[in-house]
């Protein structure tokens, strides 16, 4: 799948936060969006992931506008994953149940947890595991239906360096298996893992680096 954003403008009230952004994202790529705080990374990510409607401009999935995608819930469930800075695991469910929540095929849950190194924690609750393990469970939840793209906003914001690098490692591994990742981050180290680095400043893309 190819996600394209064309000439995106976004205002919050009178505040102009995205100024003519064009971007194209391929399935299987690992794109990092970096930039100063307030440069518009989260806003762009929300627009690309269909959670937010831009003031103007268009996002297309394989040349189809969002309005042509049919039921947006179904589309999201099959094609888009999310990882937030905070894990947002549901506290009364075990890790396994959290991951299975949206699974189209429950049989995929356990192998996925194994491959993320949290297989033995399946029956634990989110307050019974470490921060890194929680975030890996949240990543598993995003990956469970093998979406075309996973969007992650500051996914390592609450993690120490070692855990953060582990998360980037996972993204890289799964992108090589075909899932696209778009990750907004302050962390410069992500550049060592991503294949495309997009730098934002003041609502505009100022640099695109491909490796």
């Amino acid at each position: 799948m190819r996600i394209q954003a064309k000439n995106i403008e976004h205002y919050y009230g009178i505040e102009h936060v995205l100024r003519g952004v064009d971007i194209s994202i391929e399935a299987g790529s690992f794109t990092a969006i970096i930039g100063e705080s307030g440069s518009g990374k989260t806003t762009l990510l929300s627009i690309l992931s269909t959670l937010l409607n831009p003031t103007s401009g268009e996002v297309t999935f394989d040349e189809k506008a969002i309005s042509e995608l049919g039921n947006i819930d179904v589309f999201r469930r099959h094609n888009i994953g999310f990882v937030f800075q905070f894990h947002y695991l549901i506290s009364y469910l075990t890790l396994r149940e959290n991951i299975a929540l949206s699974a189209l095929d429950e049989a995929t849950v356990e192998p996925l947890m194994e491959s993320l190194g949290i297989g033995r924690l399946a029956a634990r609750y989110s307050d019974e595991v470490s921060g890194g393990e929680r975030q890996r469970a949240a990543i598993a939840r995003a990956l469970v239906n093998r979406p075309a793209v996973v969007f992650a906003d500051e996914p390592t914001g609450n993690l120490d360096t070692k855990n953060a690098l582990g998360v980037y490692e996972l993204f890289k591994r799964f992108s090589q298996e075909g899932t696209g990742f778009v990750v907004a981050s302050h962390d410069k180290k992500i550049a060592d893992y991503a294949d495309t680095i997009i730098e934002m400043e003041d609502g505009k893309i100022v640099k695109i680096l491909k490796r």
């Binding site: 959670l51 589309f75 905070f86 549901i90 009364y92 949206s102 995003a142």
Partner: protein, 359 residues
């Protein structure tokens, strides 16, 4: 099924509040329906065992006001198909220390419908007491009615609470006490199929009287309608209160769990999944609350039945059909109360998760 229970346990405090508000509403519906239904069915049972046709003064609002000439009984007995007819005076008067007691003046031929456990049928100046009131008054030898002393000549037992808490005397004394000839006639027939034609014949006897089959009498009896209507109104209020309780508590629950529903939306679970989830949760509470309210109501009715204060007048019964009806009402109450908060939950914008970042 297990997941909703986990969610309820996690939010135990609010779950408990919803449970209590539902239980109270359901128990209120049970009690008001059972008590009013009990009153109506008790009185109906009394009338039904006593006769197939009831004759009252025409156009009267209540049998207590009815005044008819007892001598007409003799004419009614002559009608073909009539097996037996008896006159009855219905009255009420205080009997120290009870504020109000049902007094029945009955014709000779009706004494056989009272099973005496001791003593003999009342002659002039005598009364027999229902076993319940006999106990309440602590086995009196005499009682005073309108400043007149009556000797207690016997005690009878009756399944019907009204009668068991009442005083029975002969028709003559009843007439003197309440200044009337008779309140109603109760007519038994040889063959129930002939009831319509007998009703017509009785009505033809005198323009001042009105005969009805017991069934149609019960259907049209104003007091029953009043009791039923008030119980329906109170029941409906309890139902609405229940819904309001659920709506307000569920709104708080949804607000507490905003991120949970936001996450569900963001991972592509449909609104309907979220609505179903919340409905399942309240449904479980409703089932437990229903069982609890049923047990509570049965307990309260049992207490009321044995409370001396009520002399057995209040004799609520929870029939299977009442329980089924209230069950349906409980489910509907849970559903309606949850729907609005659930729809709100289903519309939570996952964007709130992104902008919040931290906890």
């Amino acid at each position: 099924m297990i997941t909703p229970i986990k969610a309820l346990r996690k939010n135990r405090f609010k779950t408990a509040l919803i449970f209590m508000s539902m239980s109270v509403s359901i128990a209120a519906i049970f009690l008001i329906s059972a008590i009013s239904g009990g009153v109506v069915s008790m009185y109906s049972a009394m009338l039904k065992t006593d006769g197939d046709i009831i004759v009252t003064q025409k156009g009267i609002a209540d049998t207590f006001f009815s005044d008819i000439n007892r001598s007409m009984v003799d004419e009614i007995v002559q009608i073909e198909g009539v097996r037996e007819a008896g006159a009855l005076i219905l009255g009420a008067a205080p009997v120290e220390p009870l504020p109000i007691v049902g007094i029945y003046g009955v014709s000779e031929n009706r004494f056989k419908s009272y099973t005496l456990t001791q003593g003999s049928t009342p002659k002039n100046g005598e009364v027999i007491l229902g076993s319940k009131i006999y106990e309440t008054l602590k086995h009196p030898k005499t009682i005073i009615l309108s400043k007149q002393k009556f000797v207690v000549s016997g005690v009878f037992k009756s399944r019907i609470g009204f009668e068991d808490g009442g005083v029975v005397m002969n028709l003559h004394d009843g007439g003197v006490l309440f200044h009337k000839s008779a309140s109603i006639f109760l007519v038994s027939l040889d063959d129930l199929a002939k009831s319509d034609s007998v009703v017509i014949k009785i009505n033809a006897l005198n323009p001042d009287i009105e005969a009805k089959t017991t069934d149609s009498f019960i259907d049209s009896y104003n007091q029953f309608k009043i009791i039923k209507t008030s119980s329906d109104v109170i029941g409906a209020m309890a139902f609405l209160m229940g819904i309001l309780g659920i709506v307000s508590m569920m709104s708080m629950v949804v607000n507490d769990r905003k991120t949970e529903f936001g996450i569900m939306r963001s991972i592509g679970l449909s609104s309907w999944v979220i609505i179903k989830k919340l409905l399942a949760e309240t449904l479980i509470i409703a089932l437990v609350a229903f069982s609890f309210a049923l047990a509570l109501s049965l307990g309260v009715l049992e207490l009321i039945e044995h409370a001396d204060k009520f002399q057995g007048y209040i004799n609520g019964e929870i029939t299977v059909s009442l329980a089924l009806n209230v069950f349906v009402v409980s489910v509907v109450m849970a559903m309606l109360g949850t729907l609005l908060p659930a729809i709100y939950a289903a519309r939570i914008d996952p964007m709130t998760l992104i902008q919040r970042g931290g906890a």
